[in-house]
């Protein structure tokens, strides 16, 4: 697992899934459909990504397609970094 995915995964496990039953998160685990993140925790996740990877989400970029799993999150971050 890449560093980006690993950091995002750790953040989710430590901050968004605390107290819940243990869920295995793979690169393709759908975060929204599996109830791992929801609309509110997505906001926290976006803020985390912005701080951690120094990227900025445009309002229209915060959408399910970009944040649906670790794979898509990494792809989005890499694209953003490349755009800089």
């Amino acid at each position: 697992m890449s560093q980006i995915k690993s950091k995002v995964k750790d953040y989710i496990l430590e901050n968004l899934l605390k107290g819940g039953k243990s869920i295995e998160i793979t690169d393709h685990t759908h975060l929204l459909e599996n109830g791992i993140v929801d609309s509110i925790s997505t906001l926290h996740l976006v803020v985390f990504i912005e701080k951690e990877f120094q990227v900025k989400f445009e309002p229209h970029e915060v959408k399910t397609q970009n944040l649906q799993d670790l794979e898509h999150i990494e792809k989005f971050i890499l694209n953003k970094v490349a755009e800089k």
């Binding site: 819940g20 459909e33 509110i40 997505t42 976006v46 309002p59 970029e61 915060v62 399910t64 397609q65």
Partner: protein
């Protein structure tokens, strides 16, 4: 054919799970032709059994289920014939699409949409729908500025609405109301998502993608369809799908059918109008079953999404066990997930990130509130596409305000303290707490749902005023709420789901396929032989349970008024009118004429119904006379409305042509408080005939309406001589006069007039039926309130409610009309009675 043979041959040589439908197997097989004969013979025996087991049988099971579903659609006709036919065409197209390579599937999707449109709609509606959607797709893909695109699409929507309302070549060649529904299914929400994609995406939109997105057949026939995101749709379509997607698709279709059948059972057998709620038991029952009618929406979503999955589009679930929600926020996330995602992606995230400089918490509160304001407005917008008018009442605002308040509060709490994840332990306390929360939430949501389903806030409140506790057994109806709570707490803790996965009857088949197939066969069997019958029995319940009769007048008085030879003459024109022997003597009403006292009792509320055979009851000589008004009368007696006298002055063959005269000569004498004038489904045709006959026999009783017809132009002369040439516009002018005259007469008794619009018995095209809205508006100008029952048969088979003649209601139809009438009318009666009692109290005080 050749392809199919290759595929079948391939089955025998390949032993692998299917990826990308059947087509990739062909390519691989062609590549494998170079294999040596020896290798083939060795591998053949090895793979034969497994390929048959892993490919042919699972596919056969899906095809079997699709075939059973097609039969069920045909038999049950869910929602409407159009929807059922659309589903059949779409599912059939899915099976054919498996024969095509992946890149051609979109073409098949479009083709089934185009073909289906002509199966489902009238030719003009189909052509209009396809034209509008084609232009929309074209506009979306042209290289013009985004703002121009939006403007053009907006103009196109406006033009479509105008054309649908105005363009009519003939009765057969006109747009039916499905035209607005079908283009509305695109213009309402899908276009917003497509425009959003176009605005931000760098990829060029292809005409094929846009068109296939617009032409999703099940969605076209239903305004309640999942708001499928364009980006997900197109990405999923391009993905290499797995056989699993087809399996999920048929599962969804199966679940949808099951939900629609349960919905039908509830609607037919258990749901009663809000007006019938008299006790706490009634209320709890109403809350539960009223909420369960949402199965109609969730079932439709399942079918639409399942059908898409059968084309290889991986779709997510649309609902997530919404009965088991533990909070309003949880409810919002579980019910109609496509809507929640639409609002979240299009409004919530972008708004929040634009506003976050205001501070996180404040932005969160404002954004969540905005989401609910938009949701409320969007529901009204959607209502427009379904009913042709916007609807935003106080009750809607209140409903959304209450939900929004709870959701905002819970959002802030969740943001502050983190999401509370359920502790799924088997300890008693967490289990009971979980169950309790589900039950309470269900009670709250169902209560709000009652508010939403009410005519108005006052009719919702009036229910609570009239509640009475007959005995504590009524609270037995809390049991389903408790049961759902316990079930909701039990299921996530149980091993049931993993057990379901582990147990397989046969190694080659999912357990679920076998169970689904068996249930579908059962439903076909039940549907064919006894289901319909049992539903009819359940639906006749209102009349069956009425045993305790407390009459102010006896049922046998419920009949055609005697001595109405004028009216009878009109219906037997051969014997009377041809020889000009019209007996135009309508006697002034006497008590003995109708066997009912003219004098009204103190505090009684008298309702007069003026109608035709649709209200009076009708038979063709060898059948029972059926009248929906009789059901109303019995209900009023049963449910303790002794102060209401329901007098039926309906006569077979009557129409608005006779009402003013009947009103003046007989009805007014009874001094009614409320007058209900029926505008029957065939009132245009019958009124034309009646007016013509009156004129031609020299008995037209309205001198002051002469001028309407005595314009000596060709059309009015023709109109009076030949009813079939009677122009609608002239008749509508007469209707206006009739409403004005009736309104003047009614005001003499300080009565309130209502115009009652009845549903079509069998939904076959009726000339001029579409002009009823116009008549309704004219009546409203003259102080008539409306009781619009035209949609009372929605969700039933097109012919479920009609007698063999096609115009009159059978038992099921009369019962449904009775219920629908009470639902709309009782809140008004309650209000009137309440006002009266208030006024009598104040009068009493003054007297003291």
């Amino acid at each position: 054919m050749c392809n199919r043979l290759i595929i079948v041959q391939d089955f025998l040589h390949k032993g692998r799970s299917v990826k990308g439908g059947l087509w990739p197997l062909k390519a691989e097989f062609m590549e494998s032709k170079d294999l040596k004969a020896k290798d083939l013979s060795e591998s053949k025996s090895k793979f034969e059994l497994s390929s048959f087991g892993s490919i042919v049988l699972p596919f056969s099971l899906i095809i079997l289920q699709i075939w059973l579903c097609l039969y069920l659609f045909d038999f049950y006709e869910f929602h409407s014939k159009a929807f059922s036919v659309a589903c059949q065409v779409f599912l059939g197209g899915a099976v054919l699409s498996w024969m095509l390579p992946k890149e051609r599937r979109a073409v098949m999707l479009i083709f089934s949409g185009l073909l289906g449109a002509f199966f489902v709609f009238t030719p003009m509606t189909a052509a209009g729908t396809i034209l509008v959607l084609s232009i929309s797709a074209y506009v979306c893909t042209t290289e013009i500025k985004f703002k121009f695109k939006v403007t053009l699409l907006f103009l196109l929507a406006a033009l479509s609405i105008f054309v649908a309302a105005k363009i009519k070549i003939s009765d057969a060649w006109s747009f039916d109301k499905l035209f607005l529904t079908s283009i509305g299914s695109v213009f309402a929400f899908r276009l917003i998502l497509l425009l959003r994609y176009m605005k931000y995406s760098n990829e060029k939109l292809s005409l094929q993608d846009a068109f296939s997105y617009f032409l999703l057949l099940p969605n076209l026939t239903m305004s309640f369809s999942p708001v499928l995101d364009f980006e997900s749709f197109i990405n999923d379509f391009k993905k290499e799908e797995d056989f699993k997607v087809y399996q999920e698709g048929i599962d969804k279709v199966f679940e949808g059918i099951l939900q629609l059948i349960i919905y039908r059972v509830i609607k037919n057998g258990f749901s009663e109008p809000l007006g019938m709620v008299m006790s706490y038991g009634d209320l709890l029952k109403f809350m539960l079953f009223n909420y369960m009618t949402y199965l109609s929406v969730s079932g439709t979503f399942h079918i639409a999404l399942g059908a898409l999955a059968l084309y290889g589009i991986s779709v997510k679930r649309s609902h997530n066990q919404y009965l088991f929600a533990t909070s309003f926020l949880d409810f919002w996330r579980r019910i109609n997930i496509y809507w929640t995602d639409f609002m979240t992606n299009v409004f919530f995230y972008p708004t929040y990130f634009k506003m976050r400089r205001l501070g996180h918490r404040l932005s969160l509160v404002i954004t969540t509130s905005i989401v609910f304001v938009v949701t409320c407005l969007m529901h009204s917008y959607q209502y427009y596409w379904i009913h042709g008018k916007f609807s935003l009442q106080i009750k809607d605002l209140l409903y959304w305000f209450i939900i929004a308040s709870f959701v905002v509060w819970e959002t802030v709490q969740e943001d502050k303290f983190g999401k509370k994840r359920e502790n799924y332990s088997w300890s008693i306390l967490p289990f009971l707490k979980h169950a309790f929360r589900i039950s309470i939430m269900l009670l709250l949501i169902t209560t709000l749902w009652v508010l939403w389903a009410s005519e108005s806030v006052s009719s919702f409140v009036s229910v609570y005023y009239r509640l009475r506790l007959e005995n504590f057994k009524e609270f037995f109806w809390l049991a389903p709420f408790v049961f759902i709570g316990l079930l909701g707490a039990y299921l996530p803790r149980s091993k049931w789901i993993s057990l379901e996965k582990r147990l397989r009857f046969f190694p080659w088949a999912r357990r679920r396929d076998i169970i689904n197939s068996v249930i579908l066969v059962g439903l076909c069997f039940i549907g064919r032989y006894s289901f319909e019958k049992s539903l009819n029995d359940a639906d006749r319940r209102i009349l069956k349970i009425v045993k305790r009769e407390r009459f102010y007048y006896k049922p046998e008085n419920y009949r055609t008024l005697p001595n109405l030879s004028f009216y009878e003459a009109l219906n037997t024109k051969k014997s009377h009118l041809s020889s000009k022997e019209v007996n135009f003597t309508l006697k002034k009403a006497k008590e003995e004429d109708i066997g009912y006292p003219i004098e009204k009792k103190t505090n009684s509320l008298r309702v007069a119904l003026l109608g035709s055979s649709m209200s009076n009851g009708w038979n063709n000589g060898d059948e029972k006379i059926l009248s929906w008004a009789k059901g109303v009368q019995k209900f009023l007696n049963k449910k303790g409305y002794p102060h209401i006298e329901f007098l039926n002055f309906s006569v077979a063959g009557n129409s608005l042509a006779q009402y003013p005269y009947l009103l003046e000569q007989q009805v007014i004498d009874f001094n009614p408080d409320i007058y209900v004038f029926e505008l029957g489904t065939t009132s245009f045709k019958i009124s034309k005939k009646n007016i013509s006959l009156m004129f031609n026999s020299g008995v037209f009783p309205y001198p002051d309406a002469y001028e309407l017809f005595h314009v000596r132009d060709k059309s009015s002369i023709e109109a009076l001589n030949y009813p079939e040439n009677f122009p609608d516009d002239l008749l509508i002018k007469y209707f206006e006069w009739s409403f004005k005259r009736s309104s003047e007469l009614v005001s003499k008794t300080k009565g309130k007039p209502f115009l009652l619009l009845l549903p079509q018995a069998n939904r076959k095209p009726i000339p001029s039926y579409e002009r009823q809205d116009e008549v309704l508006n004219i009546a409203a100008k003259h102080g008539f309130e409306s009781i619009d029952l035209r949609r009372a048969f929605d969700g039933y088979r097109y012919d479920c409610c009609a007698r063999p003649d096609g115009n009159h209601y059978n038992e099921e139809g009369t019962d449904l009309v009775s219920k629908a009438f009470l639902e709309k009318f009782l809140p008004y009666l309650d209000r009137t009675q309440k006002l009266r009692s208030l006024s009598s109290v104040s009068t009493g005080r003054k007297e003291k």
